[in-house]
Subunit: 271 residues, 2 copies
């Protein structure tokens, strides 16, 4: 049995540097696929490239247009290969239309001084929290299990929250080890922060997503099934807001940090 994440990120190499992927029904979001799986597929196009060197350490994915169901092509090109890093430019199309642009950096592991300054939130183990069912008919949600520590979506008649902060444990619904594509997918598993402040009927969609991967493939593979995801927002305005997230292992390692600028549509309160 191929895992549903691996089904979705599978690419076929059609000619030098160009890969073909297909959208996957089980990753459908409100409009088009879950952005995390799109980003993971872009990473998959890099990692399956014959010239790739090292592991993905940074990726920025820009969602130029919703993907229509079906095939999409991903041109991933290693535009610069240095001794310890490689720079990738990625352009994805459906027909002639650009639907996604991205850049990625892969890096060769070096054994250096290491430390973590970010502080893991003090939370209990996953089983101390009930499994949370987000009551939206979105296919991609079924691929994960979430246990909220704090910051659930305020579904009416629940009152709006005063801040966008949220923390939850996340695992794959069907067991699968963590690796770079899976972690990149998870980095978009935060619901839009504006839902906390203005309710879940606000239209919101990610414009650009940047994820830094701080753990090696070996460290990821050894992580437990659950990740702790923590998110907040900085500033909302002009129809845009930023959300910032951290992803921690159960063992207390900072695996990834992730940022996105999100489009939203909500009139001024006094308008």
């Amino acid at each position: 049995m191929v895992h549903v994440l691996d089904e979705a990120i599978a690419v076929t190499r059609t000619e030098d540097g160009v890969a073909t992927a297909r959208t996957h029904r089980q990753w459908e979001n409100m409009v088009g696929p879950f952005g995390g799986i799109t980003a993971a597929t872009a990473a998959s196009a890099v990692l399956s490239h014959p010239d790739v060197q090292g592991e993905v350490v940074a990726i920025t994915v820009n969602f130029a247009a919703p993907l229509a169901p079906g095939e999409w092509s991903i041109a991933a090109e290693p535009v610069r290969t240095n001794r310890t890093s490689q720079h990738w430019t990625i352009t994805a199309r459906q027909g002639a239309d650009v639907v996604v642009t991205a850049t990625a950096v892969t890096g060769v592991d070096r054994d250096t001084w290491a430390d973590t300054e970010a502080v893991m939130p003090e939370v209990d183990a996953p089983d101390a929290y009930a499994e949370t069912r987000i009551p939206f008919p979105l296919k991609w949600l079924q691929n994960y299990r979430m246990r909220f520590v704090a910051g659930e979506i305020p579904i009416p008649p629940a009152p709006l929250a005063d801040d966008a902060n949220a923390m939850f444990w996340l695992r794959h619904a069907e067991a699968r080890p963590w690796d770079a594509p899976a972690l990149i997918a998870a980095s978009d598993a935060f619901y839009p922060r504006v839902f906390r402040r203005r309710g879940p009927s606000v239209r919101a969609s990610t414009i650009t997503l940047t994820t830094y991967l701080h753990a090696s493939d070996a460290e990821l593979a050894a992580a437990g099934p659950y990740l702790l995801l923590r998110a907040g927002a900085s500033r909302y305005g002009r129809g845009l807001f930023e959300q910032r997230g951290e992803i921690w292992s159960e063992g207390g390692a900072l695996l990834a940090t992730t940022y996105q600028l999100v489009y939203f549509s909500e009139p001024r309160a006094d308008a």
Copy 2:
């Protein structure tokens, strides 16, 4: 008199979509130009493009190789234009070599609900702090004035710091209003966080820089001369670390948030 920042980010359009820039002696860094001015020049290539729509709201710049002194070409292409946003792919070369890749999103201002959740640090006005001279012979430092509130570089024999946190007021040495390119340049004005922890002799250089601009051009133009820059680090390891920053106006507005993954070279403490 043209301001030294405007001299450096000036581009000449040579053919459709391609701009030519020149490195500027007064922005020299350790190896090649200050990354902030390179990023600002990439933004300038977008903003001077005849088809640009809206203001820069997000930019990711990847430093593939140090720029050699002289000309560089910047191909900035609007690969997708939506109603309220435009997606840009940017590739910069010297000769045949790719030196910089980038993506940017420009956005049309929309009048929406707005709020800020990030909290400005409580600091005194700029003139409460002495002007700080960073004793490095780097040309670009002369284009700014900095007043450190906390977190100066530990120049030996000063002891290494326990954390990477720093805050300082920054202004242009020669007065100039703030706008998107200037703010993008300033978003790289944090010295590498690893200097706090391991001293300023560590080799460090930015690999990828992402900046989100939360203020409109009008709001930026109305900001005072000083910005408050605050930076920290999350995790160091594998020869890489992330630094995260916020840029505030004197009036208390969050103007930008900025992130970068930085290369560093420093052996393990026990090696």
